[in-house]
């Protein structure tokens, strides 16, 4: 392995003459090798943990949700066409479709985002920072599968420049970078991210056509030719569970059925919702995968269990309050969403995804332990309010988290003031 090290040393560009190349080289070099730096002042030994390791563990935690989400793109596509209606039928076709739909998004985000990061790192004269490792994986996960790539690129550029680098880079940002990318799409291209039908990717791109040959190796010759016969099946509307619940409560979600080849399917049964066999943003679907990821983050203490637990508590609390209201005044209210039992609120939409990967971002969350409890709880409460009571937005977590991002420093300030007051009281005693 010595020759790789020697090679890296040999090709090191000059820092003064070509700063951009040097930053690029440095980013790659520190990815390959932990530098030979030794401690100069302060502690003589250091913990084995660094930011790269922290970030890669967040990325690892979302892998299961990412893989199932990718497969689900394919599944939803074929389901809409009335083909392979069972989740595991047509496994390879679905996987290949999903991968081909998803990977370009992932690559575009990385190229655009990392490109900007390298430029800013060069300008500021410091090493490339790892924060974008996580953002780059999160951004495609919160996008609809059928979104055009140029919008993804634009959203990534916007969020990296405006939400992060404008504030000073990793660790300095006020808003969650991945959420800013989504909120950009949400407000700049509302047609691409709201509405019922966009959560399923219907078309075949040139990539799919190119790979149809490979698909035939797995025994499917229809990969490409199906496009011609693609007609949405009877009863299929592409509606998400949330939009159904907003119209008619939980009963409406359960009543939604699709008939394919004389068989009736209930797409939003509890087990389907848990597994992630539903249309939506790429990563939000599989509750089981996300909960496993959240547990991984909590056990490794990368993500704050306080925020996760209190956010679930907050969402449960607000949903129970709404349930009580619906029991008391149910008949007079026109919003059937509030009658959805509180535990079913967790099965729909992206509450767990927001909890595990968005709310726990340590930079934008509260920094004190007490503050984390308040922060998480309020996200839960506000998220449910937006989701249920606001007809304009189908889902509340993105806005709830961004709102609490703004309030996080204030929450910390209150906690710190308490600490300062305790200390002052001691002086008087």
């Amino acid at each position: 392995m010595k020759f790789i090290r020697n090679f890296m040393d040999k090709i090191e560009p000059d820092k003064k003459d070509s700063p951009f190349l040097h930053t690029l080289w440095d980013g790659f070099d520190t990815f390959l090798y932990v530098p030979a730096h030794v401690t100069k002042s302060g502690t003589h030994i250091k913990d084995g943990m660094d930011l790269k390791r922290t970030m890669i563990h967040v990325v690892l935690a979302m892998q299961l949700a990412f893989i199932i989400g990718m497969y689900n793109i394919g599944h939803q596509h074929y389901f809409a066409l009335g083909l392979f209606p069972d989740f595991f039928a047509g496994f390879w076709e679905k996987l290949l479709y999903g991968v081909l739909q998803y990977l370009p998004m992932l690559i575009v985000v990385h190229v655009v985002g990392l490109g900007i990061e390298f430029i800013f790192a060069t300008k500021k004269g410091h090493a490339i920072e790892e924060g974008f490792l996580v953002s780059a994986f999160l951004i495609p996960l919160v996008m609809p599968p059928a979104i055009p790539l140029w919008i993804v690129a634009l959203a990534t550029a916007f969020s990296v420049v405006i939400a992060k680098e404008a504030f000073g880079g990793t660790g300095m940002n006020i808003f969650n970078v991945a959420l800013i990318a989504r909120v950009f799409v949400f407000f700049a291209f509302p047609a691409e991210i709201s509405g019922d039908e966009i959560w399923v990717s219907p078309d075949y791109s040139w990539l799919h056509q190119g790979f149809s040959g490979i698909a035939s190796l797995f025994g499917s010759n229809d990969f490409f030719s199906m496009n011609a016969a693609a007609v949405a099946v009877d009863g299929y509307t592409g509606a998400t569970p949330l939009s159904l619940a907003a119209k008619g409560g939980w009963e409406n979600v359960q009543a939604y059925t699709v008939s394919i080849a004389d068989q009736t399917y209930q797409p939003y049964s509890v087990s389907n919702l848990l597994l992630g066999n539903v249309p939506g943003s790429v990563g939000e679907g599989s509750k089981i995968a996300i909960i496993l990821g959240a547990l991984f983050l909590a056990v490794t203490r990368i993500g704050s269990w306080r925020i996760m637990l209190s956010m679930v508590l907050g969402a449960a609390f607000m949903s129970i309050v709404l349930n009580i209201i619906s029991v008391q005044y149910g008949a007079e209210l026109t919003n059937p969403f509030i009658s959805v039992p509180w535990y079913y609120q967790f099965l729909m939409g992206s509450v767990f995804f927001a909890m595990a990967f968005m709310a726990t971002d340590p930079v934008t969350a509260s920094g004190t332990s007490t503050g984390k409890w308040v922060y998480g709880f309020l996200i839960g409460v506000v998220g449910i309010i937006i989701r249920v009571l606001n007809p304009a937005y189908p889902e509340g977590w993105m806005l709830a988290i961004l709102l609490l991002n703004v309030f996080a420093p204030l929450i910390d300030h209150v906690v710190l003031q308490q600490n300062i007051k305790r200390r002052l009281r001691r002086v008087k005693v």
């Binding site: 392995m1 913990d47 660790g171 340590p362 920094g367």
Partner: protein
């Protein structure tokens, strides 16, 4: 007497469990929650609360009754619910029960290989040094009182500093001053004395300190150089002679990596000297506290000491740090001044008044996994450590640290031991690249993070090296410092207030309670590799310059 304490977190969890169980009791197909079930839920909560309060009340009543009948110590064992610990371990009422015990939970023990074997040798070096840089608060160029070539006895003055009028910095041994070494901007770094091997001391007055009067005691301490063994908090500087401290804290505890075992050190200390030392402290201040750790609590000789409140501290590092301990005994507020001293230095003071000689001897551990034979030595302060290291090394690419590996100071292989240090740590330099070391570490290393498999088992002990294991970044991870600092302090926010030079916030967030060694462990665990000790010192210097 300890009452049952529920943290906010556990209360919340209980509340949620009650709500959840009540709600899940419903048939999910029926209407979700009826008015009836709500009443039931409220009723359950109230009943639980009543039972809980009744239990606490009953427990207190029993304890109060027991206290009246049996006295303080034994009453602690009575109550409504038997203590689980007592059920398992059986009741133990030893000498330890007499001491106050403070248990600290937060922290982290860095287990390193190469702890010193409990084997004591005498060690005499050919040269000794006084390092002005060891003392915080001095000017870079203190006033020299003798020139190169001067013949000195132990306790003879070498230099003084204008900021500490009357305090003399003296020679630890008898011999000849051979060299004054200077560093950047001609600052004096080391004053080297060649020992004559006789350890003759200048003559001081022997006598019972309480009968000598405060003025005479102070004068003797300042003139002999023993005064410089005190460290003043806040700021961790040389004690200010113009001040009478609110309390003086004696440290016989250390939990840092490779630290000396104070149980072992106390066995080799002359308790007569320590007792007279405590008498001296009682002249200087109204409150004297002796701090013990797990090891030193077991030494029965400590029980014979009078004149000091004895408190034992248990828990992982930094539970053994005097600053953390003071926070739990008598926290330093704005305007307070306390002094701290190590118990072996206190014995030096005691000897000064018992025998009238200044002989700053101490027991020092030489430890580290790269040493063939890590052990304890008895030596005089400021000794050159080259003979301890030479021939004792397994590997040559090493770093020698005077003090512990978290807060100590790097010295050369032929350097001198720092005046406040009782440990020489030797560790491997980590100046090598590690392929994908951040992802798949190629060797075990100490870490707080459970992402490392060995952390989950919490069994291993490590050969640590000086590699930074990553590069410096902005603050990203939160809550990490609090996890290893058992104090009511928010270190990350304090550091940020120092960086932005916010004087009031620094004060409010408790900068007076900290010096470098207290945040050293937080600096070790920092994911962003921030230099916390350096930042803290800048803040302390800033505040000192404002006053």
């Amino acid at each position: 007497m300890k009452s049952i304490r529920l943290s906010k977190e556990s209360l919340l969890t209980i509340l949620f469990a009650v709500c959840a169980s009540a709600a899940f009791a419903q048939d999910p197909n029926a209407a979700p929650i009826t008015a009836n079930s709500l009443v039931l839920l409220l009723f359950t909560c109230v009943m639980l609360l009543v039972v809980f309060l009744a239990a606490i009340l009953g427990d207190k009543i029993i304890k109060l009754a027991a206290e009246k009948l049996l006295g303080d110590e034994r009453a602690a064992r009575f109550g409504l619910v038997p203590s689980l610990k007592e059920l398992i371990l059986g009741s133990r009422l030893t000498a330890e029960a007499k001491k106050k015990i403070v248990k600290l939970n937060r922290g982290f023990d860095i287990k390193l290989n190469g702890k010193a074997k409990k084997m004591l040798k005498d060690y005499t070096a050919s040269t000794y040094a006084v390092k002005p840089t060891d003392f915080i608060g001095l000017k870079p160029i203190p006033k020299m009182m003798v020139k190169e070539g001067a013949k000195l006895k132990a306790g003879d003055a070498i230099f003084y500093d204008k900021g500490f009028e009357g305090v003399l910095f003296t020679s630890p041994v008898s011999g000849e001053l051979i060299e004054i070494r200077r560093g950047a901007k001609r600052a004096i770094t080391e004053i080297v004395i060649a020992s004559d091997g006789k350890f003759n001391s200048a003559k001081f007055k022997a006598g019972q300190p309480s009968s000598m009067g405060e003025e005479a005691v102070r004068k003797q301490l300042m003139e002999s150089g023993a005064w410089t063994l005190f460290v003043e908090r806040p700021f961790g500087v040389v004690a200010n002679p113009a001040i009478r401290p609110t309390s003086i804290h004696i440290s016989a505890s250390d939990t840092s990596p490779l630290a000396v075992d104070y149980g072992f050190i106390l066995k080799h200390l002359d308790m007569r000297h320590v007792q007279v030392g405590i008498d001296v402290l009682n002249v200087l201040s109204d409150k004297v506290v002796l701090h013990l750790d797990k090891n030193s609590s077991k030494v029965t000789a400590v029980d014979t000491l009078v004149g000091a409140e004895v408190i034992g501290f248990q828990g992982p590092h930094p539970a053994g740090n005097i600053g953390v301990q003071i926070h739990h005994v008598s926290p330093i507020s704005k305007g307070d001044v306390v002094w701290t001293i190590k118990i072996e230095d206190l014995a030096t003071i005691g000897r000064l008044f018992n025998e009238g000689v200044y002989a700053p001897e101490k027991i020092v551990a030489v430890a580290g996994s790269v040493l063939k034979n890590p052990h304890y030595v008895k030596l005089t302060a400021g000794a050159n450590i080259s003979d301890l290291i030479e021939g004792n090394l397994i590997d040559d690419n090493v770093r020698v640290v005077s003090g512990n590996v978290l807060a100590g100071e790097q010295i050369q292989k032929d350097g001198f031991l720092g005046v406040y240090h009782n440990l020489v740590s030797v560790l491997e330099e980590g100046d090598h690249h590690e392929m994908f070391g951040w992802l798949i570490p190629s060797y075990a290393r100490p870490s707080l993070s459970p992402t490392f498999p060995w952390r989950m088992m919490d069994l291993a002990s490590f050969d640590a090296n000086t590699n930074t294991h990553g590069e410096q970044r902005a603050f990203v991870v939160t809550g990490q410092y609090e996890e290893v600092l058992p104090m009511d302090v928010y270190p990350q926010h304090l550091m940020k207030s120092i960086i932005k030079n916010d004087f009031e916030e620094m004060e409010g967030l408790g900068i007076y309670e900290l010096i470098e060694e207290d945040v050293a462990l937080a600096e070790f665990v920092c994911t962003s590799k921030q230099p916390l000790q350096h930042i803290l010192r800048e803040g302390l210097d800033y505040i000192r310059s404002q006053n």
